[in-house]
């Protein structure tokens, strides 16, 4: 058994670093998109080309948001690389609302400076301008960060282009399935398999500092919860009690995990585990299924699924304990609660006229909005800006990922080439 664990650790370390783009994005629905221009960036350096087409990354990010339609390079009447040469008339004639210009300058062997400026064509003014250091390894993140600043200026919503997504894939092989836990940039680039197993992997959950992932693994034909550090690939087993060990989720301070334990008699209850001391305490005692716990952003409540009333509904209980309070009343099936980081919306899996779909409930007003349109949609996870969710859907035999804005207006498919993709979880904001 110990040997097996070491083997898995080795595999996960070896796998880190294998990158391939698995996710491509197609926009399935949307709203009227605002015309903007992202001018190809200027380049001053030792080589012919800049290490990364920064304007292309920014342009893709803005397109993928579903809110912007960058114009083609061929239509541009001028291509300045800073505000100095910018002629607003050349852009207003094209009906463009905003223009992004910038340049990449090499400052050392593997050192660069990336600068960009965003201009309001009608107001004839700069909205934001910024210069950031970069290396070849960090330039893509710098480009995403520029896109985040541009997006926030133009929409008032914080950008989430510099974030990651973790998900599980299952590929059918001759003798069973191969399960993988994958981390990629939110645009599908920089994909890393961080864990691979012939036994199921489930329920990945980000730590608030986005450096670790908790997950459930069935290696050895029993369920255990692990916490793996992404940078090193090292992992620790934090729960492997008899029976079920499932549904981990980090507390907002990252020090505790809420999880589900079943015991030998199989009574699933919500427990809270202190990650350092491994001390755990039981929060629910009902003989029904209590599972899928998640924290409110203020750390005061645990929201969870329970079928104590017959079918699954969402309840919440104080972290200090006490009697759980029922939260959902609409429909016969509401499960897998996840609160938005701003605490205003509760996402769930909701049975909608025979279809399992993603819905959000306004926590104050209690009204429910169905966001997805599949038959078998699951695992909703909020982006850290609370504006967008990612979830899994199953249009055919294999699961794929979709994202949708919390108002339901923009929905996109993130198509995958490899196997059955499920259980996406959006990372918190990344530290730079």
């Amino acid at each position: 058994m110990r040997k097996f664990l070491v083997y898995i650790c080795l595999i996960s370390t070896l796998l880190t670093g294998i990158a391939q783009a698995e996710l491509t994005i197609e926009i399935t629905e949307g709203i009227k998109r605002r015309p903007i221009a992202v001018v190809p960036f200027g380049w001053e350096g030792n080589s012919q080309d800049m290490p990364l087409n920064v304007a292309d990354v920014i342009s893709s990010d803005l397109t993928r948001s579903g809110r912007f339609a960058p114009i083609a390079e061929d239509d541009m009447l001028q291509k300045p690389s800073s505000g100095v040469g910018l002629d607003f008339d050349d852009w207003s004639i094209l009906g463009v609302e905003a223009v992004v210009v910038g340049r990449v300058t090499q400052t050392g062997d593997n050192a660069y400076s990336v600068q960009f400026q965003l201009f309001d064509v009608y107001g004839r003014d700069q909205l934001v301008g910024y210069r950031m250091p970069a290396s070849r390894g960090t330039m893509r993140r710098v480009a995403h960060r520029a896109a985040d600043m541009i997006y926030e200026k133009l929409t008032g919503i914080k950008g989430v282009f510099d974030t990651k997504v973790a998900y599980v894939t299952a590929e059918q092989q001759r003798d069973g399935s191969l399960y993988s836990l994958v981390v990629s940039d939110q645009d599908g680039e920089n994909e890393h398999k961080i864990m691979e197993s012939n036994d199921p992997i489930m329920s990945p959950a980000w730590s608030p500092d986005s450096r670790r992932l908790a997950y459930v693994s069935f290696e050895g034909n029993r369920s255990s919860i692990f916490i793996q550090t992404l940078r090193t690939g090292n992992r620790i087993q934090v729960s492997s009690k008899p029976g079920i060990n499932g549904a981990p989720a980090f507390s907002p301070d990252g020090k505790q995990l809420v999880l589900t334990l079943g015991g030998v008699d199989g009574n699933l209850d919500i427990h809270v585990l202190d990650v350092n001391s491994r001390q755990s305490r039981r929060l629910t005692t009902h003989r029904a299924i209590d599972t899928e716990g998640s924290w409110s952003p203020d750390g005061r409540f645990i929201y969870f699924t329970s079928d104590r009333s017959g079918g699954p509904q969402i309840y919440r209980v104080s972290v200090a304990g006490g009697t759980p309070e029922r939260v959902t009343f609409e429909g016969s099936y509401n499960a897998r609660p996840r609160l938005s980081p701003d605490g205003e919306k509760l996402a769930m899996v909701h049975l909608d006229r025979g279809n399992y779909r993603i819905a959000v409930m306004d926590v104050e007003r209690k009204d429910l909005l169905v966001l997805s349109a599949g038959r078998q949609d699951e695992s909703p996870s909020f982006a850290p800006n609370s504006d967008t969710l990612i979830y899994a859907t199953r249009p055919g035999r294999n699961g794929v990922l979709e994202s949708v804005t919390a108002d339901g207006l923009i929905r996109q498919r993130l198509a995958s080439g490899q196997g059955d993709v499920r259980e996406p979880v959006w990372s918190p904001f990344q530290r730079f």
């Binding site: 499932g246 699924t305 078998q376």
Partner: protein, 173 residues
């Protein structure tokens, strides 16, 4: 490894079946006569071959013993026709304290994954309770619940779902 376990089970089934009474009376070959000379079929009412007969004891170890128990949608109740199967596994465990089983609970793909873990655990516990009531000891039984993670059939229809709502009884060393 896996083959070895299957062989163990097969051996137990055969050895138990060997103890069963094979003395079921043969039907009398002259019991029915059919004449077709005149285009009509007739059955005779001759009662030759009738005898006192003998009672047949119920023996649950007869026939092939399945290791998979299926469940209805949204249910963890044992279907009546599966009670015998579970009884025969219980008997094997009760008679052989050295063997043990792992009960693997499964659910179909509908709904939320971790909640499905709970549903599949309920099914595994139903079988566990039946085994315990009928003489197996708690130390012989472990459960693991895979929810929808390890489907027996791939597909998005009732046919596939019915094959996936199951408990597999696996004999371990």
């Amino acid at each position: 490894m896996f083959k070895y376990k299957l062989l163990t089970v097969a051996f137990l089934v055969v050895s138990l079946a060997g103890c069963a009474s094979q003395d079921v009376p043969d039907p009398d070959p002259t019991d029915t006569t059919i004449g077709s000379e005149d285009g009509a079929n007739t059955d005779g009412m001759d009662d030759r071959g009738l005898g006192d007969g003998e009672a047949i004891d119920y023996d649950p170890s007869q026939g092939e013993l399945t290791n998979v128990i299926y469940f209805e949608f949204d249910s963890s109740e044992l279907r009546p026709e599966d009670a015998d199967v579970v009884s025969r596994h219980a008997m094997q465990l009760a008679n052989n304290s050295g063997i043990s089983v792992r009960l693997e609970g499964h659910a179909d793909e509908r709904g939320s994954r971790e909640y499905n873990i709970g549903l599949s655990e309920r099914r595994a516990q139903t079988v566990r309770r039946m085994l315990l009531i009928q003489g197996a000891s708690a130390a012989q039984i472990s459960t693991v619940s895979f929810g929808e993670e390890r489907p027996a059939a791939f597909g998005n229809d009732e046919n596939a779902w019915a094959q996936n709502r199951r408990v597999e009884i696996k004999y371990t060393d």
